[in-house]
């Protein structure tokens, strides 16, 4: 069983999370401040930490910095602050992911699963030549299979082509017209918005929260790019 340390000063949130995670079959360890979390992390075998940022005694950022001195257990920050700077700070200090309060339980569980899979299967499957990988997304061109965190995702052939093209050019921005030309192999003639629709579908299938995509990003007024 995989143990998850839940650290939040709000007891109700801890118990709600306990209920959700236990229902998914994870073991949970509650902690109510940063100091306690650090203590428990040393005593128990912990596979993932859910860490609130704003806590008394020792806040989440400080606790995270201490955790990172000792272990590289995955840490997901729970934060009421949704400002970009706070997210950047958390990620820079060593968080693996973050969820802003008030969070959707389903989303949180999806992120927990994703992090755990990566943490525990680290180096498990050696990448083959025909596979393209970006973050949690893997595309096996031989078998025509796309997985996210090892879970297969079913895509339409056009979606598959777009993803493959973007995986071949990570970080590059393509306008809808350009994408249409490169993927469809034809001139768009006003069909650019079809590309946008496909991209949105791709996002809905591959992203945990499509509204805040981690991989398939829209560069408004310019186009789309695939980025980790």
């Amino acid at each position: 069983m995989q143990n998850i340390l839940i650290c939040d000063d709000e007891k109700d949130i801890v118990s709600a999370l306990t209920i959700y995670l236990q229902a998914e079959g994870y073991g949970t360890v509650p902690a109510y401040n940063g100091r306690e979390a650090l203590q428990l992390l040393r005593e128990r075998e912990i596979h993932l930490v859910l860490l609130d940022v704003m806590m008394p005694e020792m806040d989440g950022i400080a606790a995270l910095a201490r955790i990172r001195q000792e272990s590289n257990v995955p840490v997901i920050l729970l934060t009421a602050k949704s400002e970009d700077t706070d997210k950047v700070l958390g990620l820079n200090i060593g968080a693996d992911d973050y969820v802003t309060k008030p969070f959707n339980p389903v989303e949180l569980i999806a992120r927990v699963r994703s992090q755990l899979r990566r943490y525990l299967q680290l180096g498990g499957g050696a990448a083959q030549e025909s596979t393209m990988k970006l973050g949690a997304i893997e595309l096996d061109d031989k078998r025509k299979i796309v997985t996210r965190d090892g879970e297969p995702v079913s895509l339409t052939p056009r979606e598959y082509d777009i993803l493959k093209f973007l995986l071949q050019h990570p970080g590059e921005v393509f306008s809808p017209g350009e994408l249409y030309r490169r993927v469809w192999g034809e001139e768009p003639f006003g069909a650019e918005s079809t590309v946008a629709v496909h991209i949105r579908h791709l996002r809905e299938k591959l992203e945990i929260t499509p509204a805040q995509p981690r991989y398939i990003k829209a560069v408004w007024g310019q186009g789309y790019k695939l980025e980790n």
Binding site: Y20, P102, F103, G221
Partner: protein, 690 residues
């Protein structure tokens, strides 16, 4: 020290000592100066000084000597209490005639050569025999003319030049030890010379009555003083230092009347300082007048003490005033205690009061009389000097110079006021109008302008501060709301997962879920709205293509609109349209607008999204038909929490348009709303991208 300062006895002692040391200093300095003028400090011995002193005395008093000769009588006080005698000698130094007294001591002698012919005495080849008066004339003219030492290169055997011998001592030695008896000569008698005598000499003597008496008081004084010449310097220095110390002490002690160290005014300080100064100066003047009187009256020696007392009196007057001034300075009342100051202050008060009276008077009432007076003055002047053209021109020149200066001054002041007002109008925060050299009404005006500026900047500051505080408050509160909201969302979700047969429970939980989701959205929107409206958001402008953005938007919203039975019609120019905007903020605007369309548009209608070029820039318009009548002015729609009336109960925070318009403003995009019946229209106008 305070005790010493406060003691009257100490002050009196100090004053006495000060007087003494001042006298000593004066004496010492006078002595040093006098000694130095005789070369006492340049290594001259008393003997040299003596010789020199006598010589000088004699030379200076030659007229008196000659006066003596003329009468051939002795007069006292020829400079240095000496007598003048003469003798006539033949070639063998035999005395022929003379009036030298035996009991007199010869101080100095001088030989003149005269020729004796036929029993008469002739001078310089003249044919008239000499009388005693003639000798006088000779000596006088030789001294005034060629000088006592004549040219020795032109000897005249019959009438040798007058030879003067300055070395008195040598001549004295050359004298026969005693010459007796000496025939007395009457005044203006012809001198008879024994037959056969060719040349004879005349020897002039300066004698004193006896040896013990001194030639002059000066020499005596010098001889007394000479051994003390270095001690005198020391005495001068010591008395100077002492005088300074005592003076400083007295100045410091002035005003202290007891040991408390407090400075108090005495009755002297009640007298105005300048009045006291006058009195003291009068006293000093009186003292000096007395001294002057004494000296002119020739009672020299007897009056020295009186002089000293007079000087002391003058010094005491001076000291009195200085001490009183010191007290006033310490109390800080020096200027105020001056009569002149009081009079001036009084005058100034009245002048100011006069100006104060003018203050309330309106400008026109103030200036018109002034101009009338000027006009009148000009008229009178012109009438009076009209006949003198040059004077007239001069008067006019002066008049115009004064007028011109006044006008220039006014113009310069006005310029400053205008610049200041302009800057204030432009909203510059740190405008300062220089009030230097401004007078009266102009100054008042400048001050008023500065007050306006201060009020303005204060208002702006307060506004900024309250806006910032509000943003902070909203941000903090929504953060605090988020934590309990998390619990609510989670437990409502858990509730929904519970198996229940009760339909009502399911329905209620659904409501809870929907409303908690709305609350969540509301808190997020609230933070964003307050940040956007106060400009508390970073904006990074980029060049982007609106056509692409429209495609992306259509892609994002196309299906959702279709679900709501809305048809999206997008039109755009063929060529790309580039603008400057922050992509994320612009997307947020479109996102909000399309969400509004989703919420409020009448199903079954078309939604138009048109991109057109406008001037150098671009315009993006949204048009849709509202499901509810829009009984509201478009301006009100962008205010926070305003929605179409009946939309209250539906989803949405009412912040969408407010956020959109704030974000548009941040990026410099003009966002206009228009309502035409049920047609709702939003137009975004972009400037051209460079």
């Amino acid at each position: 020290m305070n005790k010493l300062k406060g003691s009257l006895a100490a002050k009196i002692v100090a004053i006495v000592l000060l007087a003494a040391s001042c006298l000593a200093l004066t004496g010492a300095v006078a002595g040093i100066a006098w000694l130095d003028s005789w070369g006492a400090y340049r290594g001259k011995n008393t003997q040299e000084i003596r010789t020199r002193l006598i010589d000088e005395k004699l030379m200076n008093s030659s007229f008196q000597i000659l006066a003596e000769l003329s009468g051939l009588r002795s007069v006292r006080d020829v400079g240095a209490e000496c007598f003048v005698r003469f003798e006539l000698l033949d070639e063998d130094s035999r005395v022929l005639a003379g009036n030298l007294n035996e009991d007199e001591t010869v101080l100095h002698s001088q030989i003149l050569v005269v020729s004796a012919v036929d029993g008469g005495l002739y001078f310089n080849g003249e044919d008239k025999p000499l009388t005693s008066a003639g000798i006088l004339n000779r000596v006088s003219s030789s001294e005034a003319g060629q000088g006592v030492e004549s040219d020795p290169e032109e000897p005249q055997p019959t009438s040798p030049p007058i030879r003067a011998d300055e070395a008195g001592a040598e001549d004295s030695e050359a004298l026969p030890p005693s010459i007796t008896p000496r025939p007395k000569l009457a005044s203006d008698t012809e001198l008879t010379i024994p037959e056969g005598t060719k040349v004879c000499y005349m020897r002039l003597y300066w004698t004193s009555e006896n040896e013990s008496e001194n030639i002059s008081s000066e020499l005596w004084f010098y001889e007394q003083l000479f051994p003390w010449r270095y001690e005198l310097i020391a005495a001068a220095v010591v008395s100077f230092v002492l005088a300074v110390l005592l003076f400083v002490f007295l100045m410091g002690a002035a005003g202290h009347h007891d040991a408390s160290g407090e400075v108090k005014a005495s009755f002297v300080e009640k007298i105005p300082a300048d009045l006291l100064l006058l009195v003291c100066l009068a006293g000093i003047g009186g003292c000096f007048a007395a001294i002057n009187e004494i000296f002119s009256g020739n009672y020299l020696v007897t009056s020295l003490t009186v002089t000293a007392f007079c000087l002391l009196g003058a010094g005491l007057f001076l000291l009195l005033w200085l001490m009183s001034a010191a007290v006033r300075l310490k109390l800080g009342t020096f200027l105020k205690s001056c009569l002149v100051w009081r009079v001036l202050a009084w005058c100034w008060k009245w002048i100011k009061a006069g100006f104060g009276l003018l203050k309330g008077v309106p400008l026109v009432a103030k200036w018109i009389p002034l101009f009338l007076v000027l006009l009148l003055a000009d008229l009178i002047l012109t009438m009076n000097v009209r006949n003198h053209e040059a004077l007239m021109a001069f008067v006019k020149l002066i008049e115009w110079a004064v007028l011109g200066a006044a006008i220039l001054y006014l113009v310069l002041c006005f310029q400053r006021l205008r610049d200041g007002a302009k800057a204030i109008a432009a909203g510059e925060e740190h405008v300062v109008i220089d009030e230097k050299y401004m007078l009266g009404d102009i100054r008042e005006h400048a001050e008023d302008l500065m007050h306006i500026r201060n009020g303005l900047s204060r208002a702006v500051d307060e506004r900024m501060k309250s806006e910032r505080l509000r943003t902070e408050l909203i941000t903090n509160v929504s953060h605090d709301i988020k934590t309990p909201l998390t619990s609510i969302v989670n437990y409502v979700d858990l509730l929904a997962r519970e198996e229940t047969e009760n339909e009502k429970t399911k329905e209620y939980v659904e409501v809870l879920q929907r409303q908690s989701a709305r609350l969540k959205k509301l808190t997020d929107d609230l933070v964003e709205a307050s940040k956007a409206s106060t400009g508390n958001l970073p904006v990074s402008m980029e060049r982007l293509e609106l056509g692409v953005l429209l495609d992306q938007t259509a892609g994002e919203y196309g299906e959702k609109l279709t679900e709501k039975n809305l048809e999206l019609r997008v039109t755009k120019p063929d060529e790309p349209v580039y603008v400057q905007a922050d992509p994320r903020h612009l997307w947020r605007i479109l996102d909000n607008l399309l969400n509004n369309v989703l919420k409020y548009a009448q199903p079954g209608t078309r939604v138009y999204l048109d991109l057109t070029r406008e001037g150098g820039g671009a315009a993006l318009s949204f048009r849709n038909i509202s499901a509810q009548p829009l009984n509201i002015r478009p301006e009100e729609l962008t205010e926070r929490f305003v929605r179409g009336d009946s939309a209250r109960s539906t989803e949405g925070s009412g912040l969408g348009l407010a956020i959109a318009s704030s974000l548009a403003k941040l990026q410099g995009i003009d966002m206009a709303l228009a309502v035409d019946g049920d047609l709702f229209k939003v137009i975004l106008r972009f400037d051209a991208a460079e």
